[in-house]
């Protein structure tokens, strides 16, 4: 394990293995991914729907059940020298770690909060499970924390349906972070929110991260959100990590054709000339394409792309990408 890493995945392979009516099907949602996430950073995971972002998150979180199976590799947590393998947690370990040390902000906040309990009681349930507090202690903690985050106190006595979607998402973030976890996983925390509210949610996440120096792993397909929040970005395609670099580097000079596509397909306010989406769509992961998995959609594909899988290359310190074009510098994708 590297010195400053808080969570590190090594050669991770996680497949959905199903067997129905004698037909076995293996979906390779995470295929040989190694990432190391440093303590105190915001690490962004980007890619289209169906490229394995959420599956990777589930495994990093240690929260997976069959049919999702870890076939190979490991995920190591490091909490002040205490190491744990996230793929082999006991039930007791899970109870100790979750919310206290590792926390999770899910996508659809509307469905997380209990619809028949007031927000303050949901908070009490969470806090008392870990701290054994009384109701009034929990309420005090909640009130103080919401005030710190700039959320109106009114929400404590509200039921979830009385709050707008953006407010519910912010309450969910407050709930997930009230015990000051070291490691926060956020799965598309701002999708389905509109831009002004999204900005508020991103501000909130950033505040929390900076106040406590916690580590955030952020999943979203929106590179604009990554640009505003992430320190480093990893781009996934069809279950593989294809490029990883500090945010500025990857947005200013993406090297992998897929990353270039992702960035260039976004409309901007500078010009209205015609732009194309990425042709085709991500492959089904039960029979991924041979060689480089992006080659059927890649306009720059060369002969060996369809047969040989490209290796991860270190282009500059901290910037790595897997593409055959980068192996010979004179062919480097511009």
């Amino acid at each position: 394990m590297q010195g400053d890493a808080i969570v590190e995945a090594k050669d991770l392979k996680a497949y959905y293995i199903t067997k129905a009516y004698g037909v076995e099907r293996t979906v390779k949602a995470v295929d040989d991914i190694s990432v190391s996430i440093k303590a105190g950073e915001v690490y962004g995971l980007a890619g289209e729907s169906g490229c394995g972002k959420s599956t990777l998150l589930k495994v990093l979180l240690g929260d997976f059940q069959p049919p999702l199976t870890v076939v190979e590799g490991s995920v190591a947590y490091d909490f002040e020298g205490q190491t744990k393998d996230a793929t082999k947690l006991s039930e007791q370990d899970k109870r100790d770690i979750r919310w206290n040390k590792v926390s999770y902000i899910p996508q659809g906040s509307m469905h997380v909060l209990n619809p028949v309990r007031r927000i303050q009681d949901t908070f009490h349930d969470f806090i008392t499970t870990h701290k054994g507090t009384s109701k009034s202690q929990s309420y005090d903690m909640t009130r103080k924390y919401l005030r710190d985050l700039g959320l109106p106190e009114k929400v404590m006595r509200s039921y979830p349906h009385q709050l707008s979607g953006g407010m519910r998402q912010r309450v969910t973030i407050a709930l997930a972070t009230i015990l000051w976890p070291k490691l926060i996983f956020a799965d598309e925390p701002t999708t389905a929110l509109d831009v002004v509210v999204q900005r508020g949610v991103i501000q909130l996440l950033k505040d929390i991260q900076q106040k406590e120096g916690s580590t955030v792993v952020l999943i979203t397909h929106d590179l604009g959100v990554h640009a505003n929040l992430a320190d480093r970005i990893g781009v996934l395609y069809a279950g593989k990590l294809v490029e990883e670099a500090p945010t500025r580097t990857i947005l200013k000079s993406p090297k992998h054709p897929y990353t270039q596509f992702l960035i260039n397909s976004l409309p901007t306010f500078e010009e209205r000339s015609a732009r194309e989406g990425i042709p085709g769509r991500p492959p089904a992961l039960d029979h991924p394409p041979s060689g480089c998995r992006f080659h059927p959609r890649c306009p720059m594909a060369i002969a060996k792309c369809s047969s040989i899988e490209p290796k991860m290359l270190e282009l500059s310190p901290g910037h790595r990408a897997a593409c055959h074009l980068l192996e010979e510098p004179n062919h480097a994708a511009a």
Binding site: S164, G166, V195, V196, R199, I202, Q203, L223, S265, P267
Partner: protein, 328 residues
């Protein structure tokens, strides 16, 4: 009969809902005094943008005849939509005006094959004879970049979100409508797929002459595809005009705030300021004076008591006191 000039015209269009709390009830203007015209024979993409809860969808429902206006006039080709009989709606109005909704998987029943909807629409509106339906539907699907082989016999869950949304648009095209009302058609899709849908809207406008009302909160795709835009805030149209003007150089503080809040995939354009969020939606709707006053960075005293009228300024309408004395 003379062809009416306006395809769709809204005059002082207002929708009022009552919020009841115990015995008291408050009037809640979901759409408040909206005025706009879409002209016949000049196809355009007219975008309606704004946050959730700004009244965009209520406006769309009134255009589709699903909600009745409380006040004001809404006419399609000179006929008030609210007064259409059931028969007129079925036989004429819905063959001219077609909807596309946000979530294609909610629009199609998971238990029915997706091509069923296409054949059913052909049969309902007697577009072509049964024997020619296959060919006709294939033609419509080709318009949206699909073919009948890709969808025939398949259930909605077998299609990707982008494909399902394309089928939803193909279904809307079957009756050869003059107007398509698309309510947040891309917000469920990935950024890369969004482009293919809005590119298709541009193509439909240019090649088929369809006028499209594109309702969205995604200003980037609105800027990319639309000709005109109306920005809505809590029921008001606060700024309306050509998209290059309104989004290129926004004047209303709310439009400026919206544009600034779009996260850009460019490390040189990250936010340096923080934004104020509305505390509670309903409070803004019932607030006196300007509804943006509670979080406006340029708020003045009179904003808190008087409702600003619309001023014509720099080729657009702006509902803000800042432009009261400015030279148009």
């Amino acid at each position: 009969m003379q062809q009416p000039k306006d395809l769709l015209s809204a005059e002082h269009l207002t929708k009022i809902f009552d919020i009841r709390q115990g015995f008291s009830s408050k009037a809640f203007h979901a759409v408040d005094d909206a005025n706009f015209q879409l002209v016949t024979g000049k196809p355009e993409i007219f975008s309606i943008a704004g946050e959730s809860g700004s009244g965009k969808s209520t406006l769309a429902k009134m255009i589709l005849g699903m909600e009745l206006p409380s006040l004001g006039q809404l006419t399609y080709k000179g006929k008030p939509i609210a007064n259409l009989s059931k028969k007129e709606k079925r036989s004429w109005f819905y063959s001219e005006v077609q909807p596309v909704f946000q979530d294609p998987f909610a629009a199609f029943s998971p238990l029915k094959r997706i091509d069923h909807y296409l054949f059913e629409t052909v049969a309902n509106y007697k577009v072509v004879r049964r024997s020619e339906a296959d060919k006709y539907i294939n033609g419509v699907l080709e318009e949206v970049g699909l073919s009948i082989a890709e969808v025939k016999g398949r259930y909605p869950n077998e299609l990707s979100g982008g494909q399902a949304q394309r089928v939803a648009i193909a279904r809307a095209l079957i009756t050869k409508p003059s107007l398509i009302v698309a309510d947040e058609p891309v917000s469920m899709l990935d950024a890369s797929l969004r482009m293919s849908i809005v590119n298709m809207f541009r193509k439909l406008k240019e090649e088929n002459g369809v006028t499209i009302i594109y309702i969205t909160h995604d200003l980037a795709t609105a800027y990319y595809s639309a000709d005109r835009i109306a920005v809505m805030l809590r029921g008001w149209i606060v700024e309306m005009g050509p998209v290059e003007k309104v989004l290129g150089n926004p004047m209303h503080p709310y439009t400026q705030n919206l544009k600034d809040s779009i996260p850009q995939a460019d490390p040189d354009k990250v936010w340096d300021k923080t934004t104020n969020l509305a505390e509670m939606e309903a409070d803004e709707y019932t607030r006196k004076g300007c509804r943006f006053a509670g979080r406006c960075p340029a708020v003045m005293d009179k904003c808190k008591t008087q409702e600003p009228p619309s001023f014509q300024h720099d080729g657009r309408a702006v509902k803000c006191f800042l432009y009261e004395d400015a030279v148009a």
